[in-house]
């Protein structure tokens, strides 16, 4: 990168100062979709969960699908960013903040779904272990409680992970801004002045967080998978679910990151910052995950089929060739047959448009995967007399659409409040200092700031 620090400031802080008419149009459209979703949720709370399409035996449907899907997307960020930081991959610099933001928003959206799905959502706080007049603790043997702790840990961890490297950038904005914005960023930057001591502490904290967040991220999706794997339901009760879900999560996360980066690149004119190199590298990761995903699905399907347990075969055939087969084969197309060849061919992978073409279907495919894990198994559970089916109503569809709009809305607002690329890290990269002497390099960066 041959830009001067001043040009970098100018390019990356421009979205914070100016908003075009397109921003307001997007704000209104996404905002109304989110409001519609909240209306649908309110309607459901008022009338009861019966306004959804859930029934017996399919007690879990779209809501839990969305829950698993969004928690999966959230693995984009923190995990990828942490791995790239730990492995000192220098090309990561413009990518990390986009990714960390996806994590925080996807996780917030995902964490709402257990509440949306509760029969009596106003009593959700009974999951929190607190001394109460009822004299009982939550049931620590329940995977749902493990979930509650895992997700909260991950949410706190990823918010910290997003905010930590933002302080120097907040300070930069503070120093350039005037009036009320200056006051807000002064508070947000927590008194950052760029002293060597502060830089040292930031480096230390980032290194600890980058290492600590990896096991947290892995455990979160493992525990989400155990919501299913712990129950004696044919098609759920499988040891493969932990790694299968984690791989699927990272897979969908990278796909979401590629799509988000491509949109940001266009809208915020970041062509010189988010280059084909970044899409190429993420494309390689995506290819690996696509192959891994296919391996997991193949292994899971083959062992089920070969084992030939009657109750599992009922679920197997209904997804393979029965009522859910169209969705199943769409999933295979979206997750493997379309993206894998595109990403494997170097000439295509190095073109941003093609990487996006490979990534978009994966988002659809991974949503379908979550749906296909949950619904066919529940609808064909053991005694054939009780086989059932499931059809979502407008309530579930509105809420589902609302979450995608919500993701867009949060990201839109985020890009107006945070520099979407970590400015100080980018400048650090531009100085071509050896990675092993961050303190020295950092002092120089700090020195430049007005």
């Amino acid at each position: 990168m041959d830009k001067t620090p001043e040009q970098i400031n100018e390019d990356l802080l421009r979205p914070l100062d100016h908003a075009s008419w397109r921003f307001y149009v997007a704000l209104v459209i996404l905002g109304s979709l989110v409001l519609a979703a909240f209306f649908a949720w309110g309607y459901q709370i008022y009338n009861g969960i019966g306004v959804s399409g859930l029934d017996r035996p399919v007690f879990w449907g779209f809501y839990i699908t969305n829950f698993v899907f969004w928690i999966g997307i959230s693995h984009a960020g923190t995990l990828i960013s942490a791995i790239l930081r730990v492995s000192n991959a220098t090309w990561r610099r413009p990518v990390t903040r986009c990714a960390e933001a996806i994590t925080v928003f996807a996780l917030s959206i995902g964490a709402m779904f257990p509440l949306v799905h509760l029969g009596r959502p106003w009593l959700f706080f009974w999951l929190i272990p607190y001394p109460s007049e009822r004299g009982i603790w939550p049931q620590f043997r329940s995977p749902l409680l493990w979930d509650f702790f895992a997700i909260n840990t991950y949410l706190i961890g990823s918010v910290t992970f997003l905010l930590l490297p933002s302080f120097p950038d907040f300070a930069l904005i503070r120093d350039r801004a005037k009036g009320w914005r200056r006051k807000i960023y002064a508070v947000a930057s927590l008194g950052w002045r760029g002293t060597p001591k502060q830089w040292h502490r930031l480096e230390m904290a980032m290194r600890i967080m980058a290492v600590a967040i990896i096991p947290v991220a892995v455990s979160v999706h493992t525990i989400v998978s155990w919501d299913f794997a712990m129950a004696p339901v044919p098609g759920w009760h499988s040891t493969i679910f932990g790694p299968y879900f984690v791989a699927g999560a990272i897979f969908s996360g990278i796909a979401a990151l590629i799509v988000a980066m491509a949109i940001l690149r266009k809208l915020l004119h970041l062509e010189e910052y988010l280059t084909p190199l970044h899409f190429d590298n993420l494309g390689k990761l995506l290819l690996v995950m696509s192959l891994l995903w296919f391996y997991f699905v193949f292994a899971e399907r083959l062992t089920t089929w070969y084992g030939n347990f009657p109750s599992e075969m009922a679920v197997f055939w209904v997804t393979q060739s029965g009522r859910f087969s169209k969705l199943f084969w769409t999933m295979v197309f979206c997750n493997f047959i379309i993206p894998a060849p595109i990403l494997a061919i170097k000439n295509l992978r190095t073109k941003i448009g093609w990487t996006v073409v490979a990534a978009m279907p994966i988002i659809v495919g991974m949503w379908l995967e979550r749906f296909l894990i949950i619904v066919p198994a529940l609808s064909h559970k053991y005694l054939p007399y009780n086989y059932g089916t499931y059809k979502p109503t407008w309530v579930e569809i509105t809420i589902t659409v609302g979450t995608f709009a919500g993701m867009g809305l949060l990201y839109l607002l985020f890009s107006k409040v945070f520099p979407i690329i970590s400015i100080w890290e980018l400048k650090l990269g531009g100085q071509k200092k050896p990675e092993t002497a961050p303190a020295l390099a950092s002092q120089k960066v700090a020195g430049e700031q007005p």
Binding site: F59, P114, L118, G119, Q139, L144, P232
Partner: protein, 239 residues
């Protein structure tokens, strides 16, 4: 050492005697204030019957045989529904019953997914009763609101009444002194209820029968309901 249970309530259902009349289903509804939900909701798979009579057909019309199987909660000794509940709403009571504490239920519906027998029922909407059923509630059973899971209790209200009466009269409970509504209403005596801890009780005796099987026994849930399988008869001979 774990203290042995004072009583261990169990049931035997003789499939040879069941005619599929569904008197048990009607009796259960009346006894336990179970909502009738209405046509529309029932068509969407939300009917609530704590005991149901499953029908399986063998052969092709007109040479068709129907098999009936009444299925209440199996009151598993190792119940998959219990550990998954995050709020202890689903728990094992001191007499071995899989109790559901309505007030604690927040409606995650995890228990219903974990249950292999699908004998847990969720109040998707506020309960309704077809008129005039709303005038005949049983005062001994609480009415459940929207968002709550409910299930067969082996008529715990009758168990408690009988136990209290026996305690007042300072005598042990007699076998067959009381029965759940389904057992009491069965015209062919296909169902027998009692204490499995008493080796001489009717239910203990029958559950040791060579015809005895457990529903989905291979799952290791150790149900306290035993089914006596149908014998095949040819020319009056047990084949």
């Amino acid at each position: 050492m774990k203290k042995p249970m004072e009583h261990k309530w169990g049931m035997v259902i003789d499939l040879d005697r069941c005619t599929g009349c569904e008197a048990c289903v009607a009796a259960c509804h009346a006894e336990n204030n179970i909502a009738t939900v209405g046509d529309d909701q029932a068509a969407r798979g939300r009917a609530m019957h704590w005991i149901r009579v499953e029908r399986y057909y063998e052969g092709n019309f007109p040479d068709i045989k129907v098999k009936y199987r009444p299925v209440p909660c199996q009151q598993c000794s190792d119940a998959p529904c219990e550990p998954v509940c995050p709020t202890y709403a689903s728990y094992h009571n001191p007499e071995g019953l899989n109790a559901q504490i309505y007030n604690r239920c927040i409606g995650t519906r995890y228990c219903a997914n974990a249950c292999p027998y699908l004998v847990r029922f969720f109040n998707f909407l506020n309960p309704v009763w077809d008129k005039p059923l709303d005038l005949q509630f049983n005062p001994d059973v609480s009415v459940r609101s929207v968002g709550i899971m409910e299930k067969c209790t082996f008529c715990i209200q009758r168990i408690k009444t009988a136990e209290i009466n026996a305690q007042v009269e300072k005598r042990p409970l007699k076998d067959g002194e009381f029965n759940p509504a389904c057992v009491e209403s069965c015209p062919t005596n296909a169902m027998v209820f009692g204490d499995l801890n008493d080796p001489e009780s009717n239910v203990s005796r029958l559950s040791r029968s060579a015809r005895g099987t457990k529903l989905l026994e291979e799952l290791g849930t150790h149900p306290k309901v035993t089914y006596l399988k149908r014998d095949t008869w040819h020319n009056g001979q047990n084949a």
